[in-house]
Assembly symmetry: C2
Homo-oligomer: 327 residues x 2
DNA sequence: GTGAAAGCGCTAACAC
DNA sequence: GTGTTAGCGCTTTCAC
């Protein structure tokens, strides 16, 4: 049994292959009655178009590449889902790449999939701008959570929410805050740090900066020691994972959150809700992040020039912040 | 600037395209010196093979499909990573599909990607066997964590580890255990339930069965009520996510774990380590699961007939089990 | 060990 | 509206 192609259908119907092809890719160019015959026969024969062939002819693969630095970080699965869902709307599939936080893997993998996809959604907080730009020239790409001149991006600005959190802590009596910084050279880390610094500057509040640290649970645990030493009564963790690690580290040292110290995370990943008490954090708009990225990518692929989109996180007050402890 | 193909290289070197092609796909058929020239020139020109063209010619896409039911469940990211890593060894890319726990999406998405991949790694705990088998005929497929007659699979048997856990609880004085069941019709859920029942039967221990429940945090929270009502002093949750939910639910009701009740999870996902106290659980061999699945798939694709692989979970005793509370 | 040529299944001018 | 034709970039006989 040989496989069914547009020719099988064309022969069966006594029409040309082009018409069959058009019935699928440009249905408006085919007479309705013919189109329906084609579709019916296709159904009957179990035909489904060969993407590779279409790809060869059109130069399009119908596949989008999604690069994430660490799929095991709970930030990414919801985003992956959103990207996939949005891609389905454009009839595209998603090739996933997890670079395992390695820059060399990132470049290798990117090089490998580049020719196989129509475009790329890239989450690469740390690859130097020049190398990032080099990897991305010549292929439609949208960068997530990082602003790179000349590249369309969709970013989440947490400034307002973080400053609200700071305000909240201030209202609870905290006057010495810690900023537990995320990865060195991470765009988001810098962004978040800036928000806190900016809020602190005009106020009668001490700010101590700790880190940089990796965006990992264990790094948070380590940071807990620095936090205790710093004398800050409340801390902004770079993200929820670090916040969770910091809380565990404080527990190791006999401290309770929020009784002894307050902790604020960022991103509102699953973990933040499943902790007890729930983590006070800033929610990331995963779904919109993914959706905008894909929509923008689609625009790029079809020749348009999308402009950068900025979304906003929102403060979620839960159980890990409380009134300052009486010293 | 036109794209570089085997012809660009062939022209530049004054040789034929066939030779260039062979230098990549059948290097043994090309004289070493020529091969090296080709590779060097390819490097210089930034050539990378067009998969679509290769796919058209060979019928292979170089892409593997990976279907997971819920990428936001922390069980899957490490497995996705393992699958991707293993695929790289076979020079294949991974097309990810998250069915969002919907059977209809699962079938739709599968139908869509089937023609675009060389084979499938499927994690589908609940799709009825007949429909699963129907979706998978005609395409090399490996099923993960589910035994389906006639389909090669790689499964994780947690019987021994769960029974060790039961033994451990027994040693701590627990005589009334709860089995908090996972999703109805889930192969793993049935498997785990069987292990506990089998251990209980010959012993002077009461077993109460709760559920079935969805494998979700919130379902665990709900289950906590049933658990309290059941009077069991210790419980086996279907998985870690449920276990975390149950602990949160118990806290809501003023109970502490393990002081008031002991909880055992399953899978040892990130969450299990980040909780305080750490969750006693049974570790899943994520990396091996992914690796074996891909290796088996590769065998299938190349015409061999792999046999089912059984891996084993191991008990990880952490902080959520303790001596039975004095009533 | 290497080249010439056909063809994988589809699309896209171009003609009719 | 539909058919004809010429590729897309690669692999793979088949000669040499």
């Amino acid at each position: 049994m040989r496989r069914v192609t547009i020719y099988s259908i064309a022969d069966a119907l006594g029409i040309s292959a082009s018409t069959v092809s058009r019935a699928f890719s440009r249905p408006d160019l085919v007479k309705a009655s013919v189109r329906e015959e084609v579709l019916a026969k296709a159904q009957e024969l179990g035909y489904s178009p060969n993407r590779a062939a279409r790809g060869l002819a059109t130069g399009r693969t119908g596949v989008l590449g999604l690069l994430v630095p660490d799929i095991t970080n709970p930030f990414f699965p919801p985003m992956v889902r959103a990207v996939q869902r949005a891609s389905a709307h454009h009839d595209a599939e998603v090739l996933l790449i997890d670079s395992e936080r390695s820059e060399t893997m990132e470049e290798d993998l990117l090089r490998r999939i580049r020719p196989q996809v129509d475009g790329l959604v890239i989450v690469s907080p740390r690859l130097p701008t020049s190398r990032l730009r080099a990897m991305l020239t010549g292929i439609p790409s949208v960068v997530v959570n990082r602003a790179v001149r000349g590249l369309p991006s969709v970013v989440c600005d947490n400034t307002r929410a973080l400053q609200q959190a700071a305000e909240h802590l201030h209202g609870l009596g905290h006057r010495r805050l810690a900023l537990v910084r995320g990865p060195r050279r991470s765009w988001a880390a810098e962004q978040r740090a800036k928000a806190i610094r900016e809020w602190t500057r005009p106020r009668e509040v001490d700010l101590v900066e700790l880190g940089p640290f990796e965006a990992q649970f264990e790094a948070g645990r380590t940071a807990a020691g620095d936090l205790v030493d710093s004398g800050a009564t409340a801390a902004f963790a770079f993200d929820d994972l670090m916040a969770a690690g910091m809380i565990a580290g404080l527990n190791d040292r006999g401290e309770q959150v929020p009784a002894d110290r307050s902790i604020v995370g960022c991103d509102d990943v699953l973990l933040a809700r499943t902790m007890t008490p729930g983590l006070t954090t800033v929610s990331a708009p995963f779904v919109d992040l993914g959706r905008h990225a894909v929509d923008m990518l689609h625009l790029l692929i079809t020749g348009a020039k999308p402009s950068t989109v900025t979304l906003h996180g929102e403060l979620e007050v839960r159980g890990t912040v409380g009134a300052v402890r009486r010293q």
